[in-house]
């Protein structure tokens, strides 16, 4: 069912912490403890396109922007900075640097293109920053949710721009509500919503018993409701579902052997990839009856697939 397409030797001098492929699946970005971000062409012979240096600490996460805004890549680091890189004429350069966090920035994600060029950043100083590009005067506007999570925010994720709104009218200007989900060291998952230029907390979800490490809002294609996956230091993955994004039901997907670091939804379909401290990756799918089943293990290093 799953076949290895290629393996790329990133040449990083230290552990890598994140890897992501761009919108079209042409380029790979990786970031590492060696303070660098590398960009590879994965369609034509896995060549290194650029080695982006500018962080002065381990780089935790990278995120690609939608190609309609140009080739943008965001990275966040232990050095408290978020850098947005841009490619112009084949050369990558620093496009914008945001240094208004007081501690390590742990997570960055670009919003769906329908919301415009917007980036969310979650930091260990407990706040979430939302950076929006303003085309008119070529500047970035930063909004900050102070104290979003006590102690620290570990992950942020945008809601999909396509989601079922009950009152959908053909004639009225349908404005998409920007929503975010975040997870932090207060063991909470929180849902945020933008209302009149302000970000307000819609609800907080309290089931995890330890730090929440990652959150992922499922692309709602084909679903009639909102689904969020969250994973935590408590070795559990929890699936949250809701019809109105206000009341949420939780289901424990599974309790794993080690802490879980990552959850990721597939673009189409309800497959969830889960990975954590034990260096293993599992894929999960919901059956028609609503049960979650592990459909395969992707072994790392050995590139073995056990169905």
């Amino acid at each position: 069912m799953v076949s290895l397409l290629q393996s790329i030797d990133t040449g990083h001098e230290d552990m890598i912490h994140d890897a992501e492929v761009d919108y079209y699946g042409l380029r790979l970005a990786t970031c590492s403890s060696d303070n660098s971000v590398k960009v590879y062409d994965i369609k034509n012979g896995n060549t290194l396109l650029d080695d982006l240096k500018g962080h002065f600490g381990p780089v935790w996460q990278v995120a690609w922007g939608h190609p309609k805004f140009g080739n943008l890549l965001a990275s966040c680091s232990y050095d408290k900075k978020v850098i947005i890189w841009k490619e112009t004429n084949g050369k990558w350069g620093k496009y914008y640097e945001y240094a208004n966090h007081d501690s390590s920035v742990n997570s960055v994600q670009f919003a769906p293109a329908e919301f415009g060029l917007v980036l969310a950043c979650g930091s260990s100083d407990g706040s979430i920053s939302i950076l929006s590009y303003i085309r008119e005067n070529n500047t970035w506007d930063a909004k900050k949710i102070q104290n979003a999570h006590a102690i620290g925010c570990n992950a942020v994720c945008w809601s999909p721009a396509i989601y079922p709104e009950p009152a959908f009218d053909n004639n009225s200007e349908h404005t998409l509500k920007k929503m975010l989900v975040s997870g932090g060291c207060d063991n909470l998952v929180k849902i945020w919503k933008e209302e009149q230029d302000r970000w307000i907390e819609v609800c907080k979800l309290e089931v995890h018993s330890d730090w929440v490490r990652d959150v992922a809002w499922a692309p709602s294609a084909g679903l009639h409701r909102h689904i969020i996956a969250s994973c935590s230091q408590d070795r559990r993955v929890i699936i949250w579902s809701s019809d109105d994004a206000i009341t949420w039901n939780s289901t424990v997907l599974h309790t794993f052997d080690d802490v879980i670091w990552n959850v990721s939804w597939s673009l189409n379909g309800n497959i969830l990839a889960v990975s954590g401290g034990d260096n293993k990756i599992t894929l999960w799918k919901q059956s028609l009856e609503g049960n979650w089943q592990c459909i395969s293990d992707v072994g790392k290093g050995s590139s073995q697939i056990n169905n």
Partner: protein, 887 residues
């Protein structure tokens, strides 16, 4: 250098008791003077240890300003200001002694500045409105006195022209020529608020920069003093702005005041003033002073020395990429220093006076022999040999370096490990390899390499001892932060991920992780992976490992030492898996599916496509869809298309595929279903106009759940559903309903009916739109743009409205702009063809300069032969339009 570079800086001095508020760096870049009310302190930056010499100072006044003499001739002199007096101190033989005391000012001295070229000249300015120029050879009184009327806050000698100096007075700048001391030669009204800092350009004698309370840095040229060349705006008052010795950079610090979090220095490129190039963060309190360290030959990095109110002295490394960001391309180091640092002009002249200095001799003389654990035994210039001895723990290496004649122009020196060394062969080989590599790198750029190689040797040996970093490349240990982690905040920073998986694009899964042989360095107490980064510190501290890195946590010390050295650096791999097998969405199908043509053809073709990829369920589904959705059969009297189950079947088909997450099939069915709806609607309208057909009545009852009475009325009255007046027979039959009621029910039924045909699937239609959008997104990612457009054509609500330049036609009758081809108010076609004078329906082109246009085909024919507008307006449409877009 075995210095502890924390990311980009190291702490050179931490002195809580110094309470110094002035700092100065000497011309050689070796000594830093810190001056406070109670102490002077001298820090030798070439020493590894925090070697500080303190000298008590007896004064009741604080030190206002301090500066070392910027010339090599008097490099031992430094001057400080103390209330109304200037004190010149001499640093000689590790002793600091006051040699001159200059007293003439009657109020507190605000600033002082050495002449940039003449070693004996010094300028000072004061609140007493006078600017004095002193000559140390006669220190009794000022050699020149400039009267400024207003109190001066800054004084700066021009860096290139020996006679010019500038002073700042509140918001104004005065420029003086010391040959004409009676009045300023120029007066610049620079800012409206107080000027805090003033700096002359290092490259042009007419340019200077001022920074002020009004949050701006302005750049002036004395040839045009009325207007600032350009302005750099920040979000806080700027305390100091100084040009960098490289490129066109500028360094700023903000005003020390009760603001928190503004303790960083900003590096700007003056060519790009929108955002700072870099932020230097590290100080916990406001930065009081910053200065550039004299650049060592052979060192690619400039160094910046900063002193902050938090009583720490930091040394920052300006990496080549930051220099590059400021528009500086490193060249040969000797040229660079002399070109970009006019302070050194004198030095350069001195050097030139000595005929033909050999580069090697120069390198030997400039070599800093104070390298820890390393002893330079001999440097023999005529034989071009240098021998050193390094002792690191139990390793002793005697190294001989021989320099060929052509060195350093592309030819590296030879390294040889001599007798008496106590290292095994492995280590020696690795060491030589590292040194040769580094030397080759440097000489390929015509740079000298001795000092860096020697430092590298010590570092390499140390690393071999500490033993935990065999997985690293040794090329750039200087840059590598030894301690990238540490600090009280780490307790709240999550433990880094070292493995992960992400779904990207449509169907790939990106995985990365640790190599399989990597084992976790865990104690028995530690079963699960720790949650915070601080755990790393604790665990590694127990293991007495020097390296605080995440890889050190996972890679344990191997038992055998030799095996460890030979271990190659492990590859850091990212795997990309193709997961398309997990999803029902199929790329080949996406290419093969069609949406054009009539419903029967679409369904047949798509069923065949499904069969090709082996999806038999799709073949069945498409066959069913054809049966359900083909409205052609209506004419044949087949009632199946209008059967109540018809739409339900279609809906359940769609919901089946959506619950399987086959967004592709769901979206395709939605499109086909939409097509069928349109056709039905069109047909119903046709039927409504000729209300004799019975066909559409059959639709109605099936969807109605209202009372039998209503139904009855409907049956009776619906022979003409658009009429609101009930036929007479309803009343005649003697129903008890008042006629008004009947009318009402009839009209409401009418509404329901029309609504019914239009949107049978009303509650779920939004979801159907989302299916189409989601599928379109998938197609877009696959690059199937044509197929995407086909799907988007079936959306029931319009895509986002075009935002940008739009060309509209004014209606020729009502003179109102219209977006469509016909006018909104008079319904006539808006555009007349300029060639045939007939209204244009369909493809049209217009000249955006003169506005004339018409049928595309007519204009094509016309412009094949002519180049002016067919209207006779004289516009050369093709050329003018071309010019318009050419900009």
């Amino acid at each position: 250098m075995a210095l502890n570079w924390n990311n980009e800086y190291y702490v050179a001095l931490e002195g809580k008791d110094l309470q110094a508020n002035a700092m100065a760096v000497d011309i050689t870049g070796t000594y830093v003077l810190l001056a406070g009310r109670k102490y002077f302190a001298i820090r030798n930056l070439d020493e590894e240890v925090q070697l500080v010499q303190k000298f008590p100072r007896q004064s009741k006044y604080d030190v206002g300003a301090a500066e070392w003499n910027p010339t090599m001739h008097h490099k031992e002199l430094c001057v400080i200001s103390s209330n109304q007096r200037l004190e010149v101190l001499t640093w000689r033989k590790e002793e600091l002694a006051q040699t001159h005391s200059l007293k003439a000012h009657t109020r507190v001295i605000t600033d002082l500045n050495w002449h940039q070229m003449d070693p004996n000249i010094l300028a000072s300015c004061s609140v007493d409105t006078f600017i004095y120029i002193w000559d140390l050879r006669d220190s009794r009184r000022p050699s020149l006195s400039l009267s400024a009327i207003a109190e001066a806050s800054q004084v700066r000698w021009n860096r290139l022209s020996s006679n010019l100096l500038a002073t700042s007075h509140d918001g104004d700048i005065k420029i003086w020529d010391q040959r004409k001391g009676t009045a300023p030669v120029q007066y610049v009204a620079a800012h409206l608020s107080k000027i805090h800092g003033l700096d002359w350009s290092r490259t042009s004698e007419t340019q200077f920069a001022t920074c002020s309370q009004d949050n701006t840095v302005k750049f002036f040229d004395t040839t045009n003093p009325r207007k600032a060349e350009y302005i750099l705006t920040t979000n806080a008052p700027v305390w100091r702005a100084r040009y960098t010795p490289f490129g066109n950079g500028l360094m700023t610090v903000v005003v020390p005041q009760l603001r928190r979090g503004e303790n960083s220095l900003l590096l700007w490129n003056t060519a790009n003033r929108a955002t700072p190039m870099h932020t230097f963060m590290g100080h916990k309190d406001v930065v009081l002073e910053f200065q550039w360290r004299h650049k060592r030959p052979g060192d690619s990095c400039f160094q910046l020395i900063t002193w902050s109110k938090d009583q720490t002295l930091l040394v920052w490394k300006i990496e080549p990429f930051l220099q590059k960001l400021c528009g500086y391309e490193p060249e040969d180091p000797h040229e660079v220093t002399s070109y970009h640092n006019p302070k050194e002009n004198v030095e350069k002249i001195v050097r030139k006076a000595v005929p033909k200095v050999e580069p090697l001799q120069q390198e030997f003389s400039l070599l800093n022999v104070h390298i820890p654990n390393l002893e330079v035994k001999s440097m023999n210039f005529p034989n071009r040999v240098c021998s050193v001895r390094a002792c690191v723990n139990r390793f002793t290496v005697n190294l001989e370096v021989t320099f060929p004649i052509a060195y350093p122009h592309g030819v590296p020196p030879n390294f040889e490990v001599k007798d008496g060394s106590q290292v095994d062969e492995n280590v020696a080989n690795q060491l030589l390899q590292t040194l040769n590599h580094l030397a080759q790198q440097r000489v390929s750029k015509n740079r000298t390499c001795l000092e860096s190689c020697l430092r590298q040797m010590v570092t390499t040996l140390e690393q071999l001892i500490t033993d935990s970093e065999a997985d690293r490349m040794y090329e750039n240990t200087i840059i590598n932060p030894e301690n990238s982690f540490g600090g009280f905040n780490d307790a709240y920073i999550p433990f880094p991920r070292t493995s992960g998986a992400k779904f990207c694009c449509v169907d790939s899964l990106i995985c990365f992780g640790r190599v399989s042989h990597a084992r976790r360095l865990s104690t028995k107490m530690e079963i699960a992976t720790p949650r915070a980064l601080s755990a790393l510190e604790n665990i590694l501290a127990k293991r007495s490992s020097h390296q605080l890195s995440i890889s050190a946590y996972y890679y344990q010390k191997p038992r055998s030492r030799t095996q460890h050295y030979s271990a190659k650096p492990s590859k850091v791999l990212v795997h990309i898996y193709d997961c398309s097998g997990l999803f029902l969405v199929h790329k080949q199908l996406a290419k093969d599916y069609i949406l054009g043509g009539d419903v029967a053809t679409i369904c047949k073709h798509n069923a065949a496509a499904g069969a090709v990829v082996g999806r038999l369920d799709l073949v069945q589904a498409w066959a069913l869809a054809e049966l359900v959705a083909n409205p052609q059969k209506v004419d044949e009297g087949d009632i199946w298309a209008h059967h109540p189950f018809n739409s339900h079947l279609m809906e359940s088909l769609i919901s089946h595929y959506s619950s399987l997450n086959d967004i592709q099939m769901a979206a395709m069915l939605c499109c086909v279903f939409g097509k069928q709806q349109e056709l039905l609607l069109a047909m119903n309208e046709k039927n409504a106009k000729t209300p004799k057909s019975q066909a559409h009545f059959k639709l109605v009852p099936s969807t109605f759940t209202s009372s039998k009475i209503t139904k009855h009325i409907l049956h009776k009255s619906s022979s003409s559903p658009y009429h609101t007046i009930p036929p007479a027979d309803v009343i005649a039959e003697g129903w008890v309903f008042p006629s008004l009621e009947t009318i009402k029910s009839s009209s409401s039924v009418d509404c329901l009916w029309s609504e019914n045909t239009r949107t049978i699937k009303a509650p779920s239609s939004n979801i159907y739109e989302y299916y189409k959008l989601a599928y379109a997104e998938t197609l877009y990612r696959w690059g199937l743009l044509y197929n995407r457009a086909e799907v988007l054509k079936h959306l029931s609500w319009p895509q986002e409205i075009h935002k940008g330049v739009e060309f509209l036609c004014d209606c020729k009758n009502c003179i109102k702009p219209s977006r469509a081809s016909s006018c909104n108010s008079c319904r006539k076609l808006t555009l007349n063809c300029i060639v045939c004078h007939i209204s244009v329906r369909g493809s049209a082109n217009c000249c955006i300069v003169c506005g004339h246009g018409g049928h595309t085909i007519h204009l094509l024919q016309w412009f094949e032969r002519n180049d002016v507008c067919p209207s006779g307006c004289g516009c050369k449409c093709l050329i003018e339009t071309g010019n318009m877009f050419g900009d």
